[in-house]
Amino acid sequence: MIAAVRVTRSRRSALWGLIGAAVVVVLLATLPYVVYADVTDLLVNAFILLVLASMWNLLAGYCGLISVGQQAYVGIGAYTVLVLAQHGINPYLAIPFAVVVAAAIAVPVSFLVFRLRAEYFAIGTWVVAEVFFLVLIRFRSLGGGTGTGLPGLALVDPAFRQALTYWSALGVAAAALLTTYLLLSSRMGLDLTAIRDNEMAARSSGVRVTWAKRVVYVVSAAGCGAGGALLIISQLNVLASAIFSVGWSAKMIFIALIGGVGSIEGPIIGTAVYTVIQQTLAQFGAWYLILLGSVAVLIAMYLPRGIWGVVTGRLHIQVFPVGYWLHR
Protein backbone atom coordinates (compact mmCIF):
# COMPACT_ATOMS: atom_id res chain seq x y z
CA MET A 1 0.00 0.00 0.00
CA ILE A 2 1.09 3.53 -0.63
CA ALA A 3 1.07 5.56 2.54
CA ALA A 4 1.26 9.08 1.23
CA VAL A 5 1.44 10.36 -2.31
CA ARG A 6 2.97 13.78 -2.77
CA VAL A 7 2.25 15.50 -6.03
CA THR A 8 3.25 18.99 -7.15
CA ARG A 9 2.36 20.79 -10.34
CA SER A 10 5.88 20.76 -11.75
CA ARG A 11 9.33 19.67 -10.78
CA ARG A 12 10.04 23.12 -9.42
CA SER A 13 7.56 25.37 -7.72
CA ALA A 14 4.84 26.89 -9.86
CA LEU A 15 4.67 29.85 -7.50
CA TRP A 16 7.59 31.80 -8.98
CA GLY A 17 6.08 31.86 -12.44
CA LEU A 18 2.82 33.24 -11.12
CA ILE A 19 4.54 35.81 -8.89
CA GLY A 20 6.67 36.87 -11.85
CA ALA A 21 3.60 37.20 -14.06
CA ALA A 22 1.82 39.27 -11.39
CA VAL A 23 4.84 41.59 -11.07
CA VAL A 24 4.94 42.06 -14.85
CA VAL A 25 1.23 42.92 -14.91
CA VAL A 26 1.67 45.48 -12.09
CA LEU A 27 4.67 47.05 -13.85
CA LEU A 28 2.77 47.22 -17.12
CA ALA A 29 -0.14 48.85 -15.30
CA THR A 30 2.04 51.81 -14.35
CA LEU A 31 3.08 52.49 -17.96
CA PRO A 32 0.49 55.17 -18.79
CA TYR A 33 2.19 57.33 -16.16
CA VAL A 34 5.69 56.96 -17.56
CA VAL A 35 5.46 56.66 -21.36
CA TYR A 36 3.71 58.47 -24.18
CA ALA A 37 0.39 57.30 -25.55
CA ASP A 38 1.91 55.95 -28.76
CA VAL A 39 3.67 53.27 -26.71
CA THR A 40 0.54 52.31 -24.81
CA ASP A 41 -1.48 52.33 -28.05
CA LEU A 42 1.02 49.91 -29.51
CA LEU A 43 0.69 47.72 -26.44
CA VAL A 44 -3.11 47.83 -26.65
CA ASN A 45 -2.84 46.27 -30.09
CA ALA A 46 -0.35 43.73 -28.80
CA PHE A 47 -2.64 42.80 -25.88
CA ILE A 48 -5.58 42.32 -28.24
CA LEU A 49 -3.48 40.07 -30.48
CA LEU A 50 -2.24 38.17 -27.44
CA VAL A 51 -5.82 37.52 -26.34
CA LEU A 52 -6.88 36.36 -29.80
CA ALA A 53 -3.81 34.18 -30.34
CA SER A 54 -4.19 32.60 -26.89
CA MET A 55 -7.76 31.71 -27.70
CA TRP A 56 -6.83 30.23 -31.05
CA ASN A 57 -4.02 28.30 -29.37
CA LEU A 58 -6.46 26.88 -26.84
CA LEU A 59 -8.58 25.51 -29.68
CA ALA A 60 -5.82 24.25 -31.96
CA GLY A 61 -3.12 23.43 -29.46
CA TYR A 62 -5.30 21.54 -27.02
CA CYS A 63 -8.34 20.30 -28.93
CA GLY A 64 -6.91 19.95 -32.42
CA LEU A 65 -9.69 22.25 -33.62
CA ILE A 66 -8.30 24.39 -36.43
CA SER A 67 -10.64 27.34 -36.70
CA VAL A 68 -10.37 30.06 -39.32
CA GLY A 69 -13.60 31.62 -38.15
CA GLN A 70 -12.80 33.13 -34.76
CA GLN A 71 -13.36 36.57 -36.34
CA ALA A 72 -17.08 35.75 -35.93
CA TYR A 73 -16.67 36.33 -32.19
CA VAL A 74 -14.33 39.29 -32.64
CA GLY A 75 -17.11 40.91 -34.65
CA ILE A 76 -19.85 39.89 -32.22
CA GLY A 77 -17.84 41.34 -29.33
CA ALA A 78 -17.33 44.63 -31.13
CA TYR A 79 -20.96 44.97 -32.21
CA THR A 80 -22.22 44.08 -28.72
CA VAL A 81 -20.25 47.05 -27.36
CA LEU A 82 -21.61 49.22 -30.19
CA VAL A 83 -25.25 48.28 -29.55
CA LEU A 84 -24.92 48.80 -25.80
CA ALA A 85 -23.11 52.12 -26.31
CA GLN A 86 -25.92 53.25 -28.61
CA HIS A 87 -28.26 52.55 -25.71
CA GLY A 88 -26.21 54.66 -23.34
CA ILE A 89 -24.04 52.07 -21.67
CA ASN A 90 -20.40 52.97 -21.10
CA PRO A 91 -18.26 51.03 -23.63
CA TYR A 92 -15.75 49.98 -20.97
CA LEU A 93 -18.53 48.51 -18.85
CA ALA A 94 -19.86 46.77 -21.96
CA ILE A 95 -16.77 44.56 -22.27
CA PRO A 96 -18.11 41.85 -19.91
CA PHE A 97 -21.36 41.81 -21.90
CA ALA A 98 -19.39 41.27 -25.11
CA VAL A 99 -17.79 38.24 -23.44
CA VAL A 100 -21.14 36.83 -22.38
CA VAL A 101 -22.85 37.42 -25.72
CA ALA A 102 -19.98 35.84 -27.68
CA ALA A 103 -20.04 32.80 -25.38
CA ALA A 104 -23.83 32.52 -25.58
CA ILE A 105 -23.76 32.56 -29.38
CA ALA A 106 -20.89 30.05 -29.46
CA VAL A 107 -22.98 27.41 -27.69
CA PRO A 108 -25.51 26.80 -30.49
CA VAL A 109 -22.85 27.40 -33.17
CA SER A 110 -20.72 24.64 -31.60
CA PHE A 111 -23.49 22.13 -32.25
CA LEU A 112 -23.40 23.15 -35.90
CA VAL A 113 -19.65 23.21 -36.55
CA PHE A 114 -18.85 20.17 -34.37
CA ARG A 115 -20.66 18.06 -36.94
CA LEU A 116 -17.70 18.78 -39.20
CA ARG A 117 -14.22 17.27 -38.99
CA ALA A 118 -10.74 18.66 -39.61
CA GLU A 119 -10.58 20.79 -42.77
CA TYR A 120 -14.38 20.81 -43.03
CA PHE A 121 -14.48 22.24 -39.52
CA ALA A 122 -12.05 24.98 -40.57
CA ILE A 123 -14.11 25.91 -43.62
CA GLY A 124 -17.33 25.61 -41.60
CA THR A 125 -16.16 28.10 -39.00
CA TRP A 126 -15.20 30.53 -41.75
CA VAL A 127 -18.64 30.18 -43.35
CA VAL A 128 -20.30 30.88 -39.99
CA ALA A 129 -18.20 34.05 -39.63
CA GLU A 130 -19.24 35.17 -43.12
CA VAL A 131 -22.89 34.54 -42.26
CA PHE A 132 -22.63 36.76 -39.18
CA PHE A 133 -20.98 39.43 -41.34
CA LEU A 134 -23.71 39.25 -43.98
CA VAL A 135 -26.43 39.46 -41.36
CA LEU A 136 -24.86 42.42 -39.52
CA ILE A 137 -24.42 44.60 -42.60
CA ARG A 138 -28.22 44.43 -43.04
CA PHE A 139 -28.62 46.65 -39.99
CA ARG A 140 -28.56 50.31 -41.00
CA SER A 141 -28.45 51.41 -37.35
CA LEU A 142 -25.17 49.54 -36.89
CA GLY A 143 -23.56 51.23 -39.85
CA GLY A 144 -24.45 48.61 -42.43
CA GLY A 145 -21.53 47.86 -44.70
CA THR A 146 -19.89 51.28 -44.37
CA GLY A 147 -19.16 51.27 -40.65
CA THR A 148 -20.00 53.62 -37.83
CA GLY A 149 -18.43 55.40 -34.89
CA LEU A 150 -18.60 54.31 -31.27
CA PRO A 151 -20.68 56.78 -29.26
CA GLY A 152 -20.31 57.46 -25.57
CA LEU A 153 -16.67 58.47 -25.28
CA ALA A 154 -16.68 61.89 -26.96
CA LEU A 155 -16.70 63.81 -23.68
CA VAL A 156 -13.90 61.82 -22.07
CA ASP A 157 -10.46 63.43 -21.92
CA PRO A 158 -8.34 61.71 -24.63
CA ALA A 159 -5.34 61.07 -22.36
CA PHE A 160 -7.56 59.51 -19.72
CA ARG A 161 -9.45 57.55 -22.38
CA GLN A 162 -6.22 56.13 -23.79
CA ALA A 163 -5.04 55.12 -20.33
CA LEU A 164 -8.40 53.52 -19.58
CA THR A 165 -8.29 51.61 -22.85
CA TYR A 166 -4.77 50.48 -22.05
CA TRP A 167 -5.76 49.23 -18.59
CA SER A 168 -8.79 47.45 -20.04
CA ALA A 169 -6.65 45.71 -22.64
CA LEU A 170 -4.05 44.77 -20.03
CA GLY A 171 -6.81 43.47 -17.75
CA VAL A 172 -8.42 41.43 -20.52
CA ALA A 173 -5.05 39.98 -21.60
CA ALA A 174 -4.18 39.05 -18.00
CA ALA A 175 -7.64 37.54 -17.53
CA ALA A 176 -7.33 35.57 -20.78
CA LEU A 177 -3.98 34.12 -19.73
CA LEU A 178 -5.21 33.39 -16.22
CA THR A 179 -8.33 31.67 -17.59
CA THR A 180 -6.17 29.60 -19.91
CA TYR A 181 -3.88 28.69 -17.03
CA LEU A 182 -6.73 27.76 -14.70
CA LEU A 183 -8.49 25.76 -17.41
CA LEU A 184 -5.34 23.84 -18.30
CA SER A 185 -4.36 23.18 -14.70
CA SER A 186 -7.83 21.91 -13.86
CA ARG A 187 -8.71 18.30 -14.49
CA MET A 188 -10.17 19.37 -17.79
CA GLY A 189 -6.65 20.42 -18.76
CA LEU A 190 -5.63 16.78 -18.48
CA ASP A 191 -8.58 15.82 -20.69
CA LEU A 192 -7.53 18.36 -23.29
CA THR A 193 -3.91 17.26 -23.42
CA ALA A 194 -5.07 13.65 -23.69
CA ILE A 195 -7.43 14.57 -26.53
CA ARG A 196 -4.64 16.40 -28.34
CA ASP A 197 -2.32 13.41 -28.02
CA ASN A 198 -4.77 10.63 -28.85
CA GLU A 199 -8.45 11.32 -29.15
CA MET A 200 -9.50 7.69 -29.47
CA ALA A 201 -7.57 6.59 -26.39
CA ALA A 202 -8.90 9.61 -24.47
CA ARG A 203 -12.44 8.56 -25.30
CA SER A 204 -11.91 4.98 -24.22
CA SER A 205 -10.27 6.21 -20.99
CA GLY A 206 -13.56 7.85 -20.08
CA VAL A 207 -12.90 11.40 -21.32
CA ARG A 208 -16.00 13.17 -22.58
CA VAL A 209 -14.24 14.48 -25.67
CA THR A 210 -17.06 16.46 -27.24
CA TRP A 211 -17.97 18.15 -23.96
CA ALA A 212 -14.37 19.20 -23.33
CA LYS A 213 -14.08 20.57 -26.86
CA ARG A 214 -17.34 22.45 -26.51
CA VAL A 215 -16.18 24.10 -23.28
CA VAL A 216 -12.96 25.21 -24.94
CA TYR A 217 -14.81 26.43 -28.05
CA VAL A 218 -17.09 28.58 -25.88
CA VAL A 219 -14.19 29.91 -23.77
CA SER A 220 -12.29 30.72 -26.95
CA ALA A 221 -15.31 32.57 -28.37
CA ALA A 222 -15.67 34.53 -25.12
CA GLY A 223 -12.02 35.60 -25.29
CA CYS A 224 -12.34 36.63 -28.92
CA GLY A 225 -15.47 38.58 -27.97
CA ALA A 226 -13.41 40.50 -25.41
CA GLY A 227 -10.77 41.08 -28.09
CA GLY A 228 -13.42 42.50 -30.43
CA ALA A 229 -14.76 44.75 -27.67
CA LEU A 230 -11.26 46.13 -27.09
CA LEU A 231 -10.81 46.68 -30.82
CA ILE A 232 -13.86 48.90 -31.20
CA ILE A 233 -12.97 50.78 -28.01
CA SER A 234 -9.41 51.43 -29.12
CA GLN A 235 -10.38 52.38 -32.69
CA LEU A 236 -13.57 54.26 -31.73
CA ASN A 237 -15.29 52.96 -34.83
CA VAL A 238 -16.15 49.69 -36.46
CA LEU A 239 -16.26 48.49 -40.04
CA ALA A 240 -18.00 45.15 -40.54
CA SER A 241 -15.74 43.93 -43.33
CA ALA A 242 -12.64 44.72 -41.22
CA ILE A 243 -13.83 43.30 -37.92
CA PHE A 244 -15.17 40.12 -39.56
CA SER A 245 -12.03 39.77 -41.69
CA VAL A 246 -10.46 36.33 -41.98
CA GLY A 247 -7.22 38.26 -41.52
CA TRP A 248 -7.80 38.07 -37.76
CA SER A 249 -7.64 34.30 -37.93
CA ALA A 250 -4.50 34.53 -40.06
CA LYS A 251 -2.87 36.73 -37.39
CA MET A 252 -3.94 34.36 -34.61
CA ILE A 253 -2.49 31.40 -36.48
CA PHE A 254 0.74 33.24 -37.29
CA ILE A 255 1.34 34.37 -33.72
CA ALA A 256 0.49 31.01 -32.16
CA LEU A 257 2.61 29.19 -34.73
CA ILE A 258 5.80 31.22 -34.31
CA GLY A 259 5.47 31.37 -30.52
CA GLY A 260 4.58 27.72 -30.13
CA VAL A 261 1.22 25.99 -30.36
CA GLY A 262 0.15 24.00 -27.32
CA SER A 263 1.74 26.08 -24.57
CA ILE A 264 0.49 29.08 -22.61
CA GLU A 265 3.79 30.90 -23.12
CA GLY A 266 3.87 30.43 -26.91
CA PRO A 267 1.36 33.14 -27.86
CA ILE A 268 3.13 35.63 -25.57
CA ILE A 269 6.42 35.11 -27.41
CA GLY A 270 4.58 35.08 -30.73
CA THR A 271 2.87 38.37 -30.00
CA ALA A 272 6.19 39.98 -29.09
CA VAL A 273 7.85 38.75 -32.28
CA TYR A 274 4.88 39.72 -34.43
CA THR A 275 4.72 43.21 -32.93
CA VAL A 276 8.44 43.78 -33.52
CA ILE A 277 8.19 42.60 -37.14
CA GLN A 278 5.13 44.75 -37.67
CA GLN A 279 6.75 47.86 -36.19
CA THR A 280 10.02 47.56 -38.06
CA LEU A 281 8.78 46.40 -41.46
CA ALA A 282 5.20 47.61 -41.90
CA GLN A 283 6.44 50.52 -44.05
CA PHE A 284 7.68 48.11 -46.71
CA GLY A 285 4.13 47.21 -47.73
CA ALA A 286 3.89 43.98 -49.64
CA TRP A 287 7.41 42.93 -48.60
CA TYR A 288 6.26 42.97 -45.03
CA LEU A 289 3.56 40.41 -45.81
CA ILE A 290 5.97 38.29 -47.82
CA LEU A 291 8.40 38.29 -44.89
CA LEU A 292 5.66 37.39 -42.42
CA GLY A 293 4.60 34.49 -44.62
CA SER A 294 8.18 33.29 -45.03
CA VAL A 295 8.82 33.39 -41.28
CA ALA A 296 5.66 31.36 -40.70
CA VAL A 297 6.62 28.77 -43.32
CA LEU A 298 10.17 28.43 -41.98
CA ILE A 299 9.01 28.08 -38.39
CA ALA A 300 6.37 25.51 -39.37
CA MET A 301 9.02 23.51 -41.24
CA TYR A 302 11.98 23.70 -38.88
CA LEU A 303 10.53 24.57 -35.48
CA PRO A 304 7.17 22.80 -35.39
CA ARG A 305 6.81 23.58 -31.69
CA GLY A 306 7.61 27.23 -32.21
CA ILE A 307 10.13 29.45 -30.44
CA TRP A 308 8.84 28.57 -26.98
CA GLY A 309 9.03 24.89 -27.88
CA VAL A 310 12.77 25.29 -28.48
CA VAL A 311 13.27 27.23 -25.25
CA THR A 312 11.38 24.79 -23.07
CA GLY A 313 12.92 21.80 -24.86
CA ARG A 314 16.48 23.03 -24.17
CA LEU A 315 16.12 24.71 -20.80
CA HIS A 316 13.12 22.90 -19.30
CA ILE A 317 11.62 26.21 -18.27
CA GLN A 318 7.92 26.59 -17.73
CA VAL A 319 6.47 29.86 -16.60
CA PHE A 320 2.99 28.39 -16.25
CA PRO A 321 3.44 24.75 -15.30
CA VAL A 322 0.23 22.73 -15.53
CA GLY A 323 1.68 19.24 -15.20
CA TYR A 324 1.77 16.83 -12.30
CA TRP A 325 5.00 15.71 -10.70
CA LEU A 326 4.97 12.62 -8.49
CA HIS A 327 7.47 12.71 -5.60
CA ARG A 328 8.70 9.55 -3.97
Binding site: M1, I2, V5, V7, R11, R187, L190, D191, T193, A194, R196, D197, N198, M200, A201, A202, R203, S204, S205, G206, V207, R208, V209, G262, G323, Y324, W325, L326, R328
Partner: protein, 245 residues
Protein backbone atom coordinates in the same frame (compact mmCIF):
# COMPACT_ATOMS: atom_id res chain seq x y z
CA UNK B 1 -20.82 -20.92 -15.20
CA UNK B 2 -24.18 -20.22 -16.79
CA UNK B 3 -25.74 -20.22 -13.34
CA UNK B 4 -23.88 -17.00 -12.50
CA UNK B 5 -25.15 -13.73 -13.87
CA UNK B 6 -23.09 -12.49 -16.79
CA UNK B 7 -21.22 -9.25 -16.19
CA UNK B 8 -20.58 -8.78 -19.90
CA UNK B 9 -22.74 -10.43 -22.51
CA UNK B 10 -22.70 -10.40 -26.30
CA UNK B 11 -25.92 -11.57 -27.89
CA UNK B 12 -25.92 -12.45 -31.59
CA UNK B 13 -23.37 -9.77 -32.48
CA UNK B 14 -22.60 -9.48 -36.20
CA UNK B 15 -20.28 -7.18 -38.09
CA UNK B 16 -19.24 -7.12 -41.73
CA UNK B 17 -16.73 -4.94 -43.57
CA UNK B 18 -17.82 -5.21 -47.18
CA UNK B 19 -17.65 -8.90 -48.04
CA UNK B 20 -15.56 -9.82 -45.00
CA UNK B 21 -17.44 -11.08 -41.97
CA UNK B 22 -15.61 -10.26 -38.73
CA UNK B 23 -18.41 -11.28 -36.37
CA UNK B 24 -21.08 -13.75 -37.35
CA UNK B 25 -23.89 -13.82 -34.79
CA UNK B 26 -21.51 -14.19 -31.85
CA UNK B 27 -22.92 -14.86 -28.41
CA UNK B 28 -20.48 -14.78 -25.50
CA UNK B 29 -20.78 -14.39 -21.73
CA UNK B 30 -18.18 -13.25 -19.22
CA UNK B 31 -18.61 -13.28 -15.45
CA UNK B 32 -16.95 -11.26 -12.72
CA UNK B 33 -13.71 -12.74 -11.44
CA UNK B 34 -12.87 -14.89 -14.44
CA UNK B 35 -10.04 -14.59 -16.92
CA UNK B 36 -10.96 -15.63 -20.44
CA UNK B 37 -8.53 -15.99 -23.32
CA UNK B 38 -9.50 -15.34 -26.92
CA UNK B 39 -7.39 -16.87 -29.66
CA UNK B 40 -7.77 -17.10 -33.39
CA UNK B 41 -5.86 -16.45 -36.59
CA UNK B 42 -5.29 -12.90 -37.86
CA UNK B 43 -8.52 -11.43 -39.15
CA UNK B 44 -10.60 -13.67 -36.91
CA UNK B 45 -12.30 -10.56 -35.54
CA UNK B 46 -10.67 -10.39 -32.13
CA UNK B 47 -9.80 -6.69 -32.09
CA UNK B 48 -13.10 -5.88 -33.79
CA UNK B 49 -14.86 -7.67 -30.97
CA UNK B 50 -13.12 -5.44 -28.44
CA UNK B 51 -13.96 -2.35 -30.47
CA UNK B 52 -17.63 -3.32 -30.40
CA UNK B 53 -17.59 -3.98 -26.65
CA UNK B 54 -15.76 -0.73 -25.88
CA UNK B 55 -17.90 1.29 -28.27
CA UNK B 56 -15.32 2.25 -30.89
CA UNK B 57 -17.36 0.30 -33.46
CA UNK B 58 -21.08 -0.36 -33.82
CA UNK B 59 -22.20 -3.92 -34.56
CA UNK B 60 -24.51 -4.41 -37.55
CA UNK B 61 -26.75 -6.63 -35.45
CA UNK B 62 -26.98 -8.05 -31.96
CA UNK B 63 -26.55 -6.54 -28.52
CA UNK B 64 -23.77 -5.86 -25.99
CA UNK B 65 -24.89 -5.89 -22.35
CA UNK B 66 -23.34 -5.01 -19.02
CA UNK B 67 -25.23 -6.42 -16.04
CA UNK B 68 -28.00 -7.33 -18.46
CA UNK B 69 -28.40 -3.72 -19.70
CA UNK B 70 -27.68 -2.85 -23.31
CA UNK B 71 -24.77 -0.44 -23.80
CA UNK B 72 -25.17 -0.23 -27.59
CA UNK B 73 -26.35 3.36 -27.52
CA UNK B 74 -23.57 4.52 -25.17
CA UNK B 75 -20.37 6.17 -26.39
CA UNK B 76 -16.92 4.77 -25.46
CA UNK B 77 -16.41 7.28 -22.63
CA UNK B 78 -19.66 6.31 -20.95
CA UNK B 79 -18.93 2.62 -21.38
CA UNK B 80 -15.53 3.18 -19.78
CA UNK B 81 -17.20 4.92 -16.85
CA UNK B 82 -19.50 1.89 -16.53
CA UNK B 83 -16.40 -0.23 -16.11
CA UNK B 84 -15.23 -1.35 -19.55
CA UNK B 85 -11.52 -0.70 -20.05
CA UNK B 86 -9.72 -1.63 -23.24
CA UNK B 87 -6.06 -1.65 -24.17
CA UNK B 88 -5.01 -1.17 -27.76
CA UNK B 89 -2.92 -3.70 -29.64
CA UNK B 90 -0.78 -0.87 -30.95
CA UNK B 91 -0.28 1.26 -27.82
CA UNK B 92 -1.90 4.67 -27.87
CA UNK B 93 -0.21 6.59 -25.06
CA UNK B 94 -0.78 10.30 -24.46
CA UNK B 95 2.74 11.04 -25.61
CA UNK B 96 3.22 14.56 -24.33
CA UNK B 97 1.96 13.67 -20.87
CA UNK B 98 3.98 11.90 -18.25
CA UNK B 99 3.20 8.29 -17.37
CA UNK B 100 1.67 9.49 -14.11
CA UNK B 101 -0.53 12.00 -15.95
CA UNK B 102 -1.65 9.29 -18.38
CA UNK B 103 -2.96 7.34 -15.40
CA UNK B 104 -4.49 10.42 -13.77
CA UNK B 105 -6.73 11.05 -16.78
CA UNK B 106 -7.92 7.45 -16.69
CA UNK B 107 -8.50 7.55 -12.91
CA UNK B 108 -10.38 10.86 -12.97
CA UNK B 109 -12.53 10.17 -15.99
CA UNK B 110 -12.85 6.42 -16.36
CA UNK B 111 -12.55 5.80 -12.63
CA UNK B 112 -14.44 8.97 -11.64
CA UNK B 113 -12.44 9.49 -8.46
CA UNK B 114 -11.77 12.76 -6.60
CA UNK B 115 -8.59 14.78 -7.05
CA UNK B 116 -6.55 13.36 -4.11
CA UNK B 117 -8.00 9.90 -4.70
CA UNK B 118 -6.77 10.11 -8.28
CA UNK B 119 -3.21 10.60 -7.09
CA UNK B 120 -3.50 7.52 -4.89
CA UNK B 121 -5.09 5.37 -7.60
CA UNK B 122 -2.47 6.39 -10.17
CA UNK B 123 0.42 5.80 -7.75
CA UNK B 124 -0.99 2.43 -6.79
CA UNK B 125 -1.32 1.30 -10.40
CA UNK B 126 2.23 2.53 -11.11
CA UNK B 127 3.46 0.34 -8.28
CA UNK B 128 1.39 -2.65 -9.38
CA UNK B 129 2.55 -2.52 -12.98
CA UNK B 130 6.17 -1.73 -12.18
CA UNK B 131 6.02 1.66 -13.90
CA UNK B 132 6.94 3.70 -10.79
CA UNK B 133 10.49 4.50 -11.96
CA UNK B 134 9.01 6.01 -15.13
CA UNK B 135 6.28 8.00 -13.38
CA UNK B 136 7.52 11.44 -14.40
CA UNK B 137 8.78 10.52 -17.87
CA UNK B 138 6.84 11.69 -20.91
CA UNK B 139 5.02 8.65 -22.29
CA UNK B 140 6.36 9.46 -25.76
CA UNK B 141 9.88 8.56 -24.62
CA UNK B 142 8.95 5.06 -23.49
CA UNK B 143 10.08 1.96 -25.38
CA UNK B 144 7.57 -0.54 -26.76
CA UNK B 145 7.63 -2.75 -23.67
CA UNK B 146 6.90 0.15 -21.34
CA UNK B 147 4.24 1.43 -23.72
CA UNK B 148 2.46 -1.91 -23.49
CA UNK B 149 2.67 -1.74 -19.73
CA UNK B 150 1.26 1.75 -19.83
CA UNK B 151 -1.71 0.50 -21.90
CA UNK B 152 -2.45 -2.04 -19.19
CA UNK B 153 -1.83 0.49 -16.42
CA UNK B 154 -4.12 3.07 -17.99
CA UNK B 155 -6.83 0.46 -18.28
CA UNK B 156 -6.39 -0.44 -14.62
CA UNK B 157 -6.47 3.20 -13.53
CA UNK B 158 -10.06 3.45 -14.83
CA UNK B 159 -10.90 0.92 -12.10
CA UNK B 160 -12.58 -1.43 -14.55
CA UNK B 161 -15.06 -4.20 -14.00
CA UNK B 162 -14.26 -5.62 -17.43
CA UNK B 163 -10.67 -5.42 -18.65
CA UNK B 164 -10.10 -6.06 -22.36
CA UNK B 165 -6.45 -6.86 -23.03
CA UNK B 166 -5.40 -6.79 -26.68
CA UNK B 167 -2.09 -8.62 -27.19
CA UNK B 168 -0.27 -7.14 -24.23
CA UNK B 169 2.23 -10.03 -24.03
CA UNK B 170 3.65 -9.74 -27.55
CA UNK B 171 7.38 -8.99 -27.50
CA UNK B 172 7.79 -9.73 -23.80
CA UNK B 173 10.46 -12.07 -22.40
CA UNK B 174 9.36 -15.09 -20.36
CA UNK B 175 10.00 -13.45 -16.95
CA UNK B 176 8.08 -10.40 -18.13
CA UNK B 177 5.21 -12.60 -19.28
CA UNK B 178 5.19 -14.27 -15.86
CA UNK B 179 5.03 -10.82 -14.24
CA UNK B 180 2.13 -9.87 -16.48
CA UNK B 181 0.27 -13.07 -15.65
CA UNK B 182 0.69 -12.23 -11.95
CA UNK B 183 -0.75 -8.76 -12.45
CA UNK B 184 -3.71 -10.17 -14.38
CA UNK B 185 -4.36 -12.70 -11.62
CA UNK B 186 -4.34 -9.91 -9.00
CA UNK B 187 -6.81 -7.94 -11.07
CA UNK B 188 -9.07 -10.97 -11.49
CA UNK B 189 -9.15 -11.46 -7.74
CA UNK B 190 -10.77 -8.03 -7.44
CA UNK B 191 -13.82 -9.52 -9.22
CA UNK B 192 -12.84 -8.08 -12.58
CA UNK B 193 -13.74 -9.98 -15.73
CA UNK B 194 -10.51 -10.10 -17.75
CA UNK B 195 -10.85 -10.84 -21.45
CA UNK B 196 -7.48 -11.39 -23.04
CA UNK B 197 -6.77 -11.62 -26.75
CA UNK B 198 -3.31 -13.07 -27.23
CA UNK B 199 -1.09 -14.72 -29.80
CA UNK B 200 1.39 -15.75 -27.11
CA UNK B 201 -0.64 -18.83 -26.20
CA UNK B 202 1.54 -20.02 -23.34
CA UNK B 203 0.89 -16.76 -21.54
CA UNK B 204 -2.82 -17.44 -21.83
CA UNK B 205 -2.78 -21.05 -20.71
CA UNK B 206 -1.17 -20.10 -17.40
CA UNK B 207 -3.55 -17.21 -16.77
CA UNK B 208 -7.02 -18.13 -17.98
CA UNK B 209 -9.69 -20.56 -16.89
CA UNK B 210 -11.40 -20.57 -20.28
CA UNK B 211 -10.35 -20.09 -23.88
CA UNK B 212 -12.52 -19.03 -26.79
CA UNK B 213 -11.28 -19.66 -30.31
CA UNK B 214 -12.62 -17.45 -33.08
CA UNK B 215 -12.17 -17.81 -36.83
CA UNK B 216 -13.94 -15.93 -39.58
CA UNK B 217 -16.06 -14.16 -36.97
CA UNK B 218 -17.47 -17.44 -35.64
CA UNK B 219 -16.91 -19.32 -32.42
CA UNK B 220 -14.90 -22.46 -33.25
CA UNK B 221 -14.31 -23.81 -29.77
CA UNK B 222 -14.77 -22.83 -26.15
CA UNK B 223 -13.71 -24.46 -22.90
CA UNK B 224 -10.73 -25.05 -20.63
CA UNK B 225 -7.37 -24.24 -22.24
CA UNK B 226 -6.15 -27.83 -22.74
CA UNK B 227 -9.27 -29.11 -24.47
CA UNK B 228 -9.62 -26.06 -26.71
CA UNK B 229 -6.00 -26.20 -27.84
CA UNK B 230 -6.34 -29.97 -28.41
CA UNK B 231 -9.43 -29.42 -30.55
CA UNK B 232 -8.69 -30.51 -34.16
CA UNK B 233 -10.62 -27.59 -35.64
CA UNK B 234 -8.59 -25.12 -33.54
CA UNK B 235 -5.39 -26.80 -34.68
CA UNK B 236 -6.56 -26.50 -38.27
CA UNK B 237 -7.28 -22.76 -38.15
CA UNK B 238 -3.90 -22.28 -36.51
CA UNK B 239 -2.15 -24.35 -39.19
CA UNK B 240 0.96 -22.51 -40.23
CA UNK B 241 0.74 -20.34 -37.14
CA UNK B 242 3.22 -21.05 -34.38
CA UNK B 243 1.21 -22.01 -31.30
CA UNK B 244 4.29 -22.35 -29.06
CA UNK B 245 2.19 -24.02 -26.38
Amino acid sequence: MTAEAALLELAGVSKRFGRITVADSLSLRFTAGETVGIVGPNGAGKSTLFAMIAGDLKPDAGDVRIDGRSVLRLDPATRCRLGIARTYQVPRPFENMTVFENLLVAAYRGGQVSRPQGYAVAAEVLEETGLSPDANRPAGRLGLLQRKRLELARGLATRPRVLLLDEVAGGLTDPEVAQLVDIVEQVRQRSVAVVWVEHVVHALTSAVSRIICLAGGRLIAEGDPESVLANPEVKEVYLGVDIDA
